[in-house]
């Protein structure tokens, strides 16, 4: 099963970490990603820039309104996603519990919607074909 793991961080806290320490933490995460790769669990990932660089689009009264900033103004912001292959939800939980990233902020683990993804893949193939 494919799971999407969303890592949240408190941006101000993360930015206050000294550079060297930040690098060390990041390398720790990369090393664990290697562990996931070894078992065939790491399918990919994307890191996100600060939520300050986000814009949010909303459809209201027949128009698209553009606002600065993220959709939800929370203390912790989405910092990146990781695509994980696991046997089931408990396997995903056990793999991500050991990820050093969890020390920096919470992970949200959600199963990928394979039904919709299959439709997308179909379109993709048709478009390329």
């Amino acid at each position: 099963m494919k799971f999407v793991c969303m890592g949240f961080i408190e941006e101000s806290k993360w930015e206050s970490v000294p550079e060297e320490e930040g690098q060390r933490l990041m390398n720790e995460c990369f090393d664990y990603d290697d562990e996931l790769r070894r078992g065939g669990h790491f399918l990919g990932g994307e890191a996100l820039k600060s939520a300050r660089e986000a814009v949010t689009l909303r459809f209201t009264n027949g128009n698209v309104a553009v606002t600065d900033g993220p959709y939800a103004e929370t203390k912790e912001m989405l910092g990146g996603i990781l695509l994980l292959e696991a046997r089931d939800l408990n396997h995903a939980i056990s793999l991500m519990s050991k990820h050093p990233g969890v020390k920096m902020g919470p992970f949200e683990i959600r199963p990928a919607d394979e039904q919709v993804n299959a439709l997308v893949a179909e379109r993709d193939a048709a478009f390329k074909g």
């Binding site: 720790e28 078992g39 089931d88 056990s94 793999l95 519990s97 199963p111």
Partner: protein, 419 residues
């Protein structure tokens, strides 16, 4: 090494995964002492098999190869991670140097038994024992278990996480209980297996009465347990489940409605399952150390022998219920005995017993008590009272097919009354 063409290796690994992965897992749990680590090294071992077997050939004993690969991968992983957590090096050292019999057949067979006893340990919440056993011993996924128990995967996942944490924190051993503790511990395991079976055979809620996959899983588990531990009550439970299962196709109409034992088409009963169940009952009874599961199976076997409800040896069934009441007294057993008495001595005798149970305050929330009462009243021609008993039963029934069955009974009674 066995010579196998490279193309067929993935299929072979796949089929070995289905048949062997839980055994390999159980052995890894023993060797590594940790569920998560065992699960990880299990998938590492299978990944290694997919890489190496096409090149190097399939080993003669794939299971032993997988165990040893999994153990090696785990030690390797712990050494790599030791820079994050120094305690892992010590652990890796211990696992690396301990002289374990990796391939000893007897030891490996026992590993699954150890795992069953661990998952059904009395320190674990009984609500968690069932899903934990299904996942760790039977290899069902969290999602499958959640759907079988009509709950969401996150809820089920949390229960399993709590169960595994309990095993770790309470240091529940991966061990077969000592002879002194064995009877009590077997009882817990049997009750988990029977819960799984009943959830499959007569689901506690929802649109359908049976979820065959769970019943099959329970039977598989009991067969495994019997193989490892030939105890009379294990035989009794397996027999009981086989005899129940023999009626699986006869007890539901094509529309999914319940058909009572007396109205079932006995041609549809599975004779092979009955034969196996009866032979197990015989073995268990002859041991002289049987208990409630064997007696229940013996009752079921008497039904299996009868060509129809009228020709059933009800005297013998009452005698078995007397025995069961002594072995495991409960109001439900009393109710069943009352129904059997009604078949021997007439509905009046049965009704008096049922009303005594209800007056005592027992089974007043149990829909089957009122539907049995209604049925006996109907046979006695007290139709208005029968109807009111069935009405009350309907207010207590939770499952759709049960409710349809009761509604039909009520409609039929109304029709008779109107004529």
């Amino acid at each position: 090494m066995t010579d196998t063409s490279a193309e067929s290796v993935p299929d072979l690994v796949d089929s070995i995964y289905r048949t062997e992965s839980r055994r390999v897992f159980a052995t890894l749990v023993r060797l590594l002492g940790d569920f998560d680590l065992a699960e990880e090294s299990l998938s590492d071992a299978f990944a290694a098999a997919l890489q190496q077997w096409p090149r190097e050939g399939v080993p003669d004993n794939p299971r032993a190869w997988l165990v040893s690969a999994g153990r090696f991968k785990a030690i390797d992983a712990m050494r790599r991670r030791a820079r994050f957590d120094a305690s892992l090096e010590t652990l890796a050292q211990r696992i690396d140097t301990s002289e374990n019999e990796l391939t000893n057949e007897e030891q490996v067979a026992d590993d699954r038994l150890r795992l069953i006893f661990t998952c059904c340990h009395p320190a674990i919440d009984p609500k968690i024992q069932v899903p934990l056993t299904l996942r760790e011993v039977c290899g069902l996924t969290t999602e499958e278990i959640a759907s079988a128990f009509l709950t969401s995967p996150p809820t089920m996942a949390q229960r399993i996480v709590r169960g595994k944490a309990k095993i770790r924190d309470a240091k529940i051993p991966f061990a077969i209980p000592s002879l002194a503790d064995l009877p009590e511990r077997i009882e817990a395991v049997l009750s988990v297996i029977y819960l799984v079976f009943n959830e499959g055979y007569s689901a506690s809620a929802g649109a359908e009465v049976t979820r065959t996959d769970l019943s099959d899983e329970a039977i598989r588990l009991a067969r495994l347990l019997l193989q490892l531990l030939p105890d009379p009550e294990v035989m009794g439970l397996l027999a009981l489940m086989l005899l129940h299962s023999s009626r699986r196709t006869a007890r539901l109409s094509p529309e999914g409605d319940i058909i009572l034992l007396e109205d079932q088409d006995r041609e549809l009963w599975d004779r092979d399952l009955i034969a196996e169940g009866k032979s197990l009952v015989q073995s268990s009874l002859s041991s002289g150390h049987f208990g409630e599961y064997t007696i229940q199976a013996a009752i079921s076997a008497v039904h299996a022998d009868a060509a129809n409800a009228a020709e059933t040896d009800w005297q013998q069934i009452v005698a078995h219920y007397d025995l069961l009441l002594r072995a495991a007294p409960s109001p439900v057993v009393e109710l069943n005995r009352a129904v059997a008495i009604a078949m021997c001595d007439g509905p009046e005798a049965g009704l008096a017993l049922i009303e005594a149970i209800l007056q005592r305050g027992d089974l007043t929330e149990y829909y089957l008590a009122y539907s049995a009462q209604g049925e006996l009243l109907r046979r006695m021609g007290r139709l208005a009272e029968a109807q009111s008993s069935f009405n009350h039963s309907l207010t207590l029934a939770k499952q759709e097919p049960e409710r349809r069955f009761l509604s039909k009974k009520i409609a039929m009674l109304k029709e008779t009354a109107d004529q």
